[in-house]
C-alpha cells in the first residue's frame, strides 16, 4: 500500500516539485549510496540485539512470540537458537506481569529487553513502565537503577484499526525518569538500540512497523559491534536554509531537509533551537495526536528559547484528532502526508509577507 516515500536525492529547496511523491522503488537510492552496503531496519535491530546479548550475558529478551515464533515481526529471529530459552523468553499473554517481571529482574541485576507486540499493548503494563521503572531511581535515591529497555512497534501500521494505531511518544516522553527513543533509519536503529541496552536507565524504544522492511545504506562504522549513538542528540539529516522541520520515526522519510529527532526524551533542544535561529521558521511533524504532543513541546521550547528569532508562527503537523479509522482512504487522511508538510513549509515561508501585498 502506501509505504515510505523516499527522498529524491540531489534536489534542493522546498518547492513543490522536489517533494513529489516518489515510488518506493529503490533504484534511485542504490545509485547514490556510497558504501554499497544496505541493511533493513529489521536486520539492524536483530544484529544489535544479537551483539549485545553476546557481549553481556545479563542481557535477555522477554515478550510474546519472541522465541519459537522468531518474533511477531521477526525482529528476534534466530536468537532463540543461539541463546536458548532461558535468555529468549516466550511469555504468556500477560503484559502487566512480564513487564513487572522485567522491572524486578532489572532491580536485582539483569538487563532485560522487554518486547511489546505493539506499544498499544503497553497500556496494560504502563503502571510498571511509569511507576516501578521510571520512578525507582529517584524514589530510592540512586540505590536501585533500572537498566531495562521496553521496545516494540509504535504508531500506525496499515489498516489495523484504532486500537492498534496510536503513537505513544508523547505519553512516555512526558514522564521524568524515562528515556524515549525513536529511530528512523537502520543506522539509528542499530546505534540507538545498542545505546539503550547499555544505558543504566529505563528506555522506551519506539520502532515503526512500516519501517522494518525498509533498507538504508550503512557504513562500515555502523556495522562495527561497538557502534553506539548518544541518547539525547538529534541528527540533522540535511541542513535547510528556509525552514526547520523536525520529525521522528517514519515521518523523517517525508521531508527532505529535516531534523531527525532520534531522542524524544531527552529532547535535543539545543540542536532544534540552533537551527531555528538560522532559518527563523519552524514546522514540527508527527504522526500522533496534536494535543499535548511532541510537536507542542518542541514549539513551546522554541518559543521559550528563540522567540526573538522567529519570523513566522511555529506550526505543528500531526495526525487527525480522531481514533484511527479502518477504511483506507480515511486512514490516509488521518495521518500527515507530504502535501501537508509542503503546505506548512510554504505557509511558514510566506507568512511574513505583509497583508498589503496579498491585497
Amino acid at each position: 500500500m502506501w509505504g515510505i516515500i523516499r527522498q529524491k536525492v540531489g534536489t534542493g529547496g522546498i518547492s513543490a516539485p522536489s517533494m513529489e511523491r516518489i515510488r518506493p522503488a529503490v533504484s534511485a537510492w542504490r545509485c547514490y549510496s556510497s558504501s554499497g552496503k544496505e541493511m533493513t531496519v529489521r536486520d539492524a535491530l536483530n544484529s544489535a540485539l544479537d551483539e549485545e546479548m553476546s557481549a553481556d550475558p545479563k542481557v535477555y529478551v522477554m515478550g510474546e512470540e519472541v522465541g519459537e515464533y522468531q518474533g511477531a515481526y521477526k525482529i528476534t529471529k534466530g536468537l532463540l537458537d543461539k541463546y536458548g530459552p532461558e535468555r529468549v523468553v516466550d511469555t504468556p499473554i500477560t503484559e502487566a506481569g512480564f513487564a513487572g517481571i522485567g522491572v524486578g529482574s532489572a532491580y536485582y541485576g539483569l538487563r532485560p529487553v522487554i518486547e511489546f507486540m505493539t506499544f498499544n499493548f503497553s497500556m496494560q503494563a504502563i503502571d510498571h513502565i511509569i511507576n516501578s521503572a521510571a520512578k525507582s531511581n529517584y524514589m530510592s535515591a540512586g540505590q536501585i537503577n533500572v537498566p531495562i529497555v521496553f521496545r516494540g512497534p509504535n504508531g500506525a501500521a496499515a489498516g489495523v484499526g484504532a486500537q492498534h494505531s496510536q503513537c505513544f511518544a508523547a505519553w512516555y516522553a512526558s514522564c521524568p525518569g524515562l528515556k524515549v527513543l525513536a529511530p528512523y533509519s537502520s543506522e539509528d536503529a542499530r546505534g540507538l538500540l545498542k545505546a539503550a541496552i547499555r544505558d543504566p536507565d529505563p528506555v522506551v524504544f519506539l520502532e515503526n512497523e512500516l519501517l522494518y522492511g525498509e533498507s538504508f545504506p550503512v557504513s562500515a562504522e555502523v556495522l562495527d559491534s561497538s557502534f553506539c549513538l548518544p541518547i539525547g542528540k538529534a541528527k540533522i539529516e540535511r541542513e535547510g536554509k528556509d525552514v526547520t522541520i523536525t520529525a521522528f520515526s517514519k515521518m523523517v522519510g517525508y521531508a527532505l531537509k529535516v531534523i531527525n529527532l532520534r531522542s524524544i526524551r531527552p529532547l535535543d533542544r539545543a540542536t532544534i533551537n540552533a537551527s531555528v535561529r538560522k532559518t527563523n521558521r519552524l514546522v514540527t511533524v508527527e504522526e500522533g495526536f496534536a494535543q499535548h504532543g511532541v510537536g507542542a513541546e518542541i514549539c513551546t521550547s522554541v518559543i521559550e528559547d528563540s522567540f526573538g528569532y522567529l519570523d513566522a508562527p511555529v506550526e505543528r503537523i500531526s495526525g487527525a484528532d480522531v481514533p484511527t479509522p479502518y477504511a483506507a482512504n480515511l486512514e490516509r487522511m488521518a495521518f500527515p502526508q507530504i502535501e501537508d508538510i509542503v503546505r506548512a513549509a510554504q505557509r511558514a515561508c510566506f507568512r511574513s509577507v505583509p497583508m498589503a501585498a496579498a491585497a
Partner: protein
C-alpha cells in the same frame, strides 16, 4: 518439617474436591447465606474447627493444625519446643521493634513530624518477623505501602527508616521516597509500592533473576529467595494471577505471602471476594497453598522455613495465606469506623507479642526480666531514631533534580565506570560513543 507440606504437594487436585470436606457454611459453593455481605459473624478461623477433618486427603492443609498435632505427639516430659531461647529472643526483639516503631510513628504523625500517607503494621508483626527472619541478606523482600516493619525486619536501621519518614536527607532514600517507598539496595528491600499488586511482578522478576543467575550466569550457589508481601485486597488483582501463573510455570524461587487482615481500607474481604479462601488459589496455578495463623509467630516461622527451603531447593513457589489483623486503621487518616469493636477486641486477645511472651515464659525459656530488658532497649533504639531524625537536615535544593537518572547525559557509562561525557576526550559526534 516435611509433614506440613507433604500433604500439599499434589497440585493436580481440582479445588472443588476439597470443598466438600470443609465447613459448608464457609464454602461459598454451598453457602446458605444468600449474600456474603459485611457479615461480622462469618470469620475464616471457623475453618480451624474442621481442621481435624481436613487431613492428608486434602491437597490443602491448615498448617496450624498440623503443628498442633506435632506438639501433642511428643512426650510431655521432654517438651519438644519449637524454638531455642536464642531464636525466641531474636523473634521477640524484632516484633517489639516493629510495634514500638509503629507506635512512635503514630505519635510523630499526630505531632506533625510525619505527613502524607502512613500505614501502620500493628498486629501483623508475626508475619514480618516469622518470614523475614528466615532470610539472608541477599534474599529480597518486596512489599506494599505497609512496609516500615518489613524494612526493619530485613535489617534497615531504625534511624534510617525514621529519617525517611520525617523527609530528611539521612533517610534510607534521602527523603525522596517516603513512607510508602522504602528501598534499600544494601539489604535488598526492593520497595515499597503504593499500587497494590505492583510489587508482585517486581518480586517475581527478582526471583527470575535468581534463577537466571543460577542457570545462565552459572553462579551455582545462587539460591536467593524472594518474598512478596501483600494483602487480601491484592489477591483479587489481575497481576497477582498473572504472576502465580508465571512463577509456577517457570518454578521461580518466590514465596507469595498474603497478609489477610480481612479488610482493604473499609472493604471487607468477604464482600470483595467470590471465594474468600485465598490459599486455594495456589493449587489452581500449580503451587502449594497454605493457610496459617498469622497471629502466632511460631506457626508462621514453621511455614516460612518450609517454604524457603522449597524455594532454595528449586521446587518453585508457594502461596501462604496468613490470617492476621491490623489493630489500627488502614492508615493514620482512616477513622476506622466500619470494623466491629468485638472483632477488634477478639484479635487484641491474640496479640502476637503477648502470645510469644506467654509461650517463652511458660516453657521456661526466659525470665520476664530479660524480656523487659529487651523492651527497654528497643525503646531506647526508637527514641534515638527519633532524635536522629529530628536533628538531621532537610534535603538541599539541588537534591530536587538529582537521581532521576543513573546516567543523566545519556551518553552512557564507560567500562571504567565514569560517565562518558566527563571524559576529556569525549566528543558529541554522532558515531562511536
Amino acid at each position: 518439617m516435611s509433614s506440613a507440606f507433604s500433604a500439599i504437594n499434589t497440585v493436580q487436585r481440582p479445588p472443588h474436591a476439597s470443598v466438600s470436606q470443609e465447613n459448608p457454611s464457609v464454602s461459598p459453593l454451598r453457602s446458605s447465606l444468600p449474600f456474603l455481605g459485611s457479615n461480622h459473624k462469618l470469620r475464616p478461623n471457623s475453618l480451624h474447627k474442621n481442621g481435624a477433618s481436613i487431613r492428608r486427603q486434602s491437597s490443602i492443609v491448615a498448617v496450624s493444625d498440623v503443628v498442633k498435632e506435632k506438639k501433642t505427639k511428643s512426650s510431655s516430659s521432654l517438651p519438644n519446643l519449637l524454638i531455642t531461647k536464642q531464636e525466641g529472643l531474636v523473634l521477640y526483639e524484632d516484633m517489639i521493634l516493629g510495634r514500638a516503631f509503629e507506635d512512635m510513628c503514630a505519635q510523630m504523625y499526630y505531632r506533625g513530624k510525619m505527613f502524607g500517607f502512613v500505614h501502620l503494621y500493628n498486629g501483623q508483626e508475626a508475619v514480618s518477623t516469622g518470614f523475614i527472619k528466615q532470610l539472608k541478606k541477599e534474599d529480597c523482600v518486596v512489599s506494599t505501602y505497609r512496609d516500615h516493619v518489613h524494612a526493619l525486619s530485613k535489617g534497615v536501621p531504625a534511624r534510617a527508616v525514621m529519617s525517611e519518614l520525617f523527609g530528611k536527607t539521612t533517610g534510607c532514600c534521602r527523603g525522596q521516597g517516603g513512607s510508602m517507598h522504602m528501598f534499600s539496595g544494601e539489604h535488598n528491600v526492593l520497595g515499597g509500592f503504593a499500587f497494590i499488586g505492583e510489587g508482585i511482578p517486581v518480586a517475581t522478576g527478582a526471583a527470575f533473576t535468581s534463577k537466571y543467575k543460577r542457570e545462565v550466569l552459572k553462579e551455582a550457589d545462587c539460591d536467593h529467595v524472594t518474598m512478596a508481601f501483600f494483602g487480601d485486597g491484592t489477591a483479587n488483582n489481575g497481576q497477582f494471577f498473572e504472576c502465580l501463573n508465571m512463577a509456577a510455570l517457570w518454578k521461580l524461587p518466590i514465596i507469595f505471602v498474603v497478609e489477610n487482615n480481612m479488610w482493604a481500607i473499609g472493604m471487607s474481604h468477604l464482600r470483595a471476594t467470590s471465594d474468600p479462601q485465598i490459599y486455594k488459589k495456589g493449587p489452581a496455578f500449580g503451587m502449594p497453598g497454605v493457610h496459617v495463623d498469622g497471629m502466632d509467630v511460631l506457626k508462621v516461622r514453621e511455614v516460612a522455613q518450609e517454604a524457603v527451603a522449597r524455594a532454595r531447593r528449586g521446587d518453585g513457589p508457594t502461596l501462604v495465606e496468613c490470617e492476621t489483623y491490623r489493630f489500627r486503621g488502614h492508615s493514620l487518616a482512616d477513622p476506622d469506623e466500619l470494623r466491629d469493636p468485638a472483632e477488634k477486641a477478639h484479635y487484641a486477645t491474640r496479640d502476637p507479642i503477648t502470645a510469644l511472651k506467654k509461650y517463652m515464659i511458660e516453657n521456661n525459656l526466659v525470665e520476664e526480666a530479660e524480656l523487659k530488658a529487651i523492651e527497654k532497649k528497643i525503646d531506647e533504639v526508637v527514641e534515638e531514631a527519633v532524635e536522629f531524625a529530628e536533628a538531621s537536615p532537610v534535603p538541599v535544593r539541588s537534591q530536587l533534580l538529582e537521581n532521576v537518572f543513573a546516567d543523566p547525559k545519556g551518553f552512557g557509562i564507560a567500562p571504567d565506570g565514569r560517565y562518558r561525557c566527563e571524559d576529556p576526550k569525549f566528543t558529541e559526534g554522532t558515531a562511536h560513543v
